[in-house]
């Protein structure tokens, strides 16, 4: 019984869709833009309207065999060609194959003297000519509001725009009409009054020097759609939209186990390690050994001949290699044979969605079985806790679907309380290991505890561990009169026991 699939189909609306081919956008719109109808894409300058529209045409031409016309009211054909190139695409070969046509409609402000009644039949004729020449199924009008700067009779313009959109519908072309955001309105000229089939709003805001882009489907007549703002990202591969909550909780739950790389920790996790495809949070203060645990985890994966991916947001590849080398983990062979790939980046090099986009691309390329993100807390510097949560939710969703086991480290400020970010994200995590520096009797000892681990009986003990050149070692629990001893107390206790044992053994030896 495939209930998941059946539900999907039922949820899909009867409105026919034209896929945009843009990662994420087709997810949010349950399949694409309304086929044969105009869609309004609005937003401020530089928000990515033109690039989105371009990708819609390119993908239509390449993957749906739907020829498209790009009508620019602002850019010349040469500029448009360059613009297409900026998203990694040369429009000329497609144009030669009659799958794409570029048309520049020039509107210069106040160039034109008005001497009596007119209409925009000339524009209609040009559009019809361009559409018919290549049998276009997709049309982009970017940005049609420019007409208002060149012609002054707004009454005529409005009537003609209404006629234009009706005409596009009658032609049955799937169109994108772009509009600049206006004061208190979605577009300066209120195009949203004419195009009610589908309206998508793009936003580009700068938050503490980090630019973030957002996309929201404002309305979509006759179709379900995601209503949340979704971050999106533009790079030389074009646009990727990263819907935050599109996945739901539908992924298959595997029951296989993955070793943490440390027998002792595996032992604490119901003796067999983490669940395959689960997410593990390792949080703790500075110097508590988070990266070491991450190191054991990837080392073990590489030993199992699994591809691993390590996202480092604090240290460079060399630093990680050196530091883990100091506790006896040698990553060099794995880096050499490609089983391990470390992607080191400063959190501030791009916005959150930039990082997410890169991470998703690397995951796509490398198909890792295990992933480490070290540390996620550093991402707070480029986004708010809510944004980081949203990003992680998305990342975890994708990794769960692919059954990637992921380990996240998080730096907590205070040893005694988990940081806000941990509280916030712990609900996404299947296992949560907390590392602490315990200060007692004038010394610091490291401790490790499994705060939670879903679906398994895990240890409740707080275990002391040491980091030595030979590696991380969890010390055996030493109890004395119902108390767990740590640090020098345990050493003293153990030495005392050893002495006692020695004293016992000596006479025995003599006796023999």
């Amino acid at each position: 019984m495939p209930p998941r699939r059946a539900k999907r189909v039922a949820a899909t609306s009867p409105v026919a869709k034209a896929p945009t081919g843009i990662q994420g956008l087709d997810e949010i719109t349950s399949g694409g833009l309304p086929k044969g109808r105009p869609t309004l894409i609005c937003g401020g300058p530089g928000c990515g309207k033109t690039i989105l529209a371009m990708e819609f045409l390119i993908n239509g031409a390449l993957h749906q065999r739907e020829p498209g016309v790009f009508v620019s009211f602002e850019e010349t054909i040469e500029d448009l060609t360059l613009n297409f190139a900026s998203v990694g695409f040369d429009p000329r070969p497609l144009a030669a194959r009659k799958l794409l046509a570029l048309e520049h409609v020039r509107v210069l402000p106040h160039e034109i003297q008005e001497t009596g009644g007119y209409d925009l039949e000339g524009l209609f004729i040009r559009l019809a000519d361009a559409i018919d020449r290549i049998g276009a199924k997709r049309v982009v009008l970017d940005t049609i509001e420019s007409l208002f700067s060149g012609l002054s009779d707004t009454r005529v313009l409005r009537a003609e725009l209404r006629r234009l959109f009706d005409w596009l519908r009658a032609k049955g072309v799937t169109a994108i009409v772009t509009g600049e955001r206006g004061d208190g309105k979605l577009t300066r000229q209120g195009l949203e009054e004419y195009i009610t089939d589908c309206v998508i709003l793009l936003d580009h805001r700068v938050n503490e020097q980090n630019a973030t882009r957002r996309l929201r489907v404002v309305k979509y007549r006759g179709s379900t759609h995601g209503v949340n703002e979704a971050p999106f990202f533009i790079d030389d591969h074009g646009i990727s939209v990263l819907p935050i909550t599109s996945m739901g909780l539908e992924h298959a739950v595997p029951t296989g186990r993955v070793s943490s790389g440390m027998v002792e920790i595996d032992g604490m996790m119901g003796r067999r390690g983490f669940f395959r495809g689960s997410s593990i949070l390792v949080s703790g203060g500075a110097g508590t050994g988070k990266t070491s645990i991450a190191g054991y985890f990837v080392d073990a994966a590489c030993r199992r001949k699994e591809s691993s991916l390590y996202f480092a947001f604090e240290e460079s590849t060399d630093q990680i290699e050196r530091n883990l080398g100091s506790i006896g983990i040698d990553l060099a062979p794995w880096l050499r044979n490609g089983r391990l790939r470390v992607h080191a980046a400063r959190p501030t090099t791009s916005g959150l969605e930039g990082h997410l986009s890169t991470m998703l691309r690397l995951i796509d390329e490398r198909r890792p079985r295990v992933v480490v993100v070290d540390p996620i807390s550093n991402l707070i510097s480029v986004g708010t806790t809510i944004e980081v949560k949203a990003m992680l939710a998305r990342l975890i969703d994708i990794m769960k679907v692919r059954q990637i086991t992921a380990l996240f480290t998080s730096l907590t400020g205070d040893d005694s309380h988990p940081a806000d970010i941990d509280q916030g994200i712990s609900s996404f995590m299947d296992s949560w290991i907390v590392l602490r520096n315990i200060e007692r009797n004038g010394e610091r000892t490291r401790s490790l505890a499994v705060l939670k681990s879903r679906g398994m009986s895990h240890s409740n003990q707080v275990r002391e561990f040491v980091l030595t050149a030979k590696g991380l070692a969890l010390l055996d629990v030493v109890r004395d009169r119902g108390r767990v001893l740590v640090g020098s107390e345990r050493v003293a206790h153990l030495t005392g026991r050893a002495h006692a044992a020695a004293q016992h053994s000596i006479p025995r030896a003599r006796r023999s």
Binding site: T115, Y118, L151
Partner: protein, 114 residues
């Protein structure tokens, strides 16, 4: 669509700017009443103000849609003055003679001339 220059006429009329040759193109779509009005209005203006030094070409975009691109035609009717330079564009049926004359530079632009 290359504008055909007419050096002969130019040479004879050179001194006075008012005497320049006018090369005019009127873009219309079909035989609508607005198209016909534009043609009539244009002929009248030319006869009165440009006697003997003008040429009118009427282009029906329904027959030649590809010609709309060259002169960047959107609104119809549109009158394009190819000569004398610079190129001027006038949209509408030319029923407002005053504005038409200003647009063709046959009457000085006043501060409120638009």
């Amino acid at each position: 669509m290359t504008a055909k220059r007419t050096p002969r006429t130019r040479a004879t009329r050179k001194p006075a700017p008012a005497g320049e040759f006018y090369d005019l193109r009127l873009y219309v779509a079909g035989q609508t009443s607005r198209s016909l009005a534009a043609i009539t209005n244009l002929r009248k203006i030319c006869k009165e103000h440009l006697a003997g030094r003008y040429r009118i070409r009427v282009i029906d975009l329904l027959e030649h849609p590809q010609l709309a691109r060259g002169d960047q035609i959107l609104a119809l009717p549109t009158l394009v003055r190819k000569l004398p330079e610079p190129i001027r564009k006038l949209v509408g049926d030319l029923s407002d003679t005053e504005r038409a004359l200003v647009g063709l530079d046959l009457r000085p632009r006043t501060p409120t001339g638009r």
